[in-house]
């Protein structure tokens, strides 16, 4: 139970972290995150959820969790594919930055916690984290990444991804109620 609280807390902290890292950029006239950096944050955010899903597919026996994790793998892989295609088209190389580094570091801690769970506690920990993570990413894409983006096509892709993230959140909340 405490561990579940820790994971939920980590989702809340992620929102706070993204806000803390990106708000100073928003406060300035020229955005601090360039489009290649925004692209990198977007790719990393998708990779992180694929990483969580890989753990779920190994550890869970619950059909709802397994189906959800499989959908996360497929959808986030599709989004990364679209982002890569767009980057190639625009001649842009996604650029590592403080936000994406911090996201990856935070995700490593969460993955460690998820791996340490017993099978009995894992399903709840995983789905609670998915709810918190999707809330955090939706907030970051909507309020921080989209406003930061200058390229119209990259902005359009981020806007197109939002409904998928919102559907994932709704799906995760449905599974959460059943666990």
């Amino acid at each position: 139970m405490n561990a579940v609280k820790t994971l939920t807390k980590s989702g809340v902290m992620l929102v706070a972290l993204l806000t803390m890292l990106l708000l100073p950029a928003l406060a300035q006239e020229n955005p601090k995150l360039s489009d290649p950096e925004v692209a990198h944050v977007a790719v990393v955010a998708n990779q992180i959820d694929i990483g969580y899903a890989e753990i779920a597919l190994k550890k869970s026996k619950n059909q709802d969790i397994l189906k959800f994790a499989e959908t996360m793998t497929n959808d986030h892989t599709a989004v990364i594919g679209q982002a890569s295609d767009l980057a190639k088209k625009l001649g842009v190389t996604p650029m590592e930055n403080a936000v994406s580094k911090q996201l990856l570091a935070d995700a490593e801690k969460t993955k460690k916690e998820l791996r340490s769970k017993s099978r009995k506690d894992f399903d709840k920990a995983y789905i609670d984290n998915e709810v918190a993570y999707h809330k955090a990413v939706i907030a970051a894409v909507k309020n921080l990444l989209i406003p930061e983006t200058e390229n119209a096509e990259l902005k359009a892709l981020l806007e197109k991804v939002l409904p998928a993230l919102e559907t994932h959140l709704e799906h995760a909340e449905m599974v959460q109620k059943k666990i």
Binding site: K67, N74, A78, P163, A164, E166, H171, M174
Partner: protein, 121 residues
């Protein structure tokens, strides 16, 4: 002379009955034309922004519904609640046609919050 008159009357009766039969038949054909159902139509449901558009579709029995996936991610179209028919996964830009035999609720089994309805009028 009497025989000739009888032949004329007989021919007249035959012609009269033939005329009645013809009128009867053509009138019955007209009725059948009126009763005939409209030709089957093809309706389109677009899958975009994680929604079936339109989510509710009115059709006639025998019509076809073409589902087109214009979204970023894969979707499917699966009858609810029994899963009695499914499109299987449709990747982006793929489509699938369903010939409608009865009203049905459906959903995307990959994204269980996405739902739609086909109503046979």
């Amino acid at each position: 002379m009497r025989e000739r008159a009888l032949r004329i009357v007989r021919t007249g009766i035959v012609l009269f009955l033939g005329l009645i039969f013809y009128v009867g038949c053509s009138s019955s054909t007209e009725n059948k034309k009126e009763e005939r159902k409209p030709a089957p139509k093809v309706h389109t449901v677009e899958i975009k922004q994680m929604k079936f558009v339109p989510a509710e579709l009115h059709v006639n029995k025998g019509d076809t519904v073409l589902f087109i996936n214009n979204d970023l991610v894969a979707h499917d179209v699966t009858e609810e609640p029994n899963g009695s028919w499914t499109s299987s996964a449709l990747q982006a830009s793929e489509s699938w046609a369903l010939q409608v035999t009865q009203s049905a609720d459906y959903y995307c089994s990959l994204h269980i919050v996405m739902k739609g309805k086909i109503i046979v009028d």
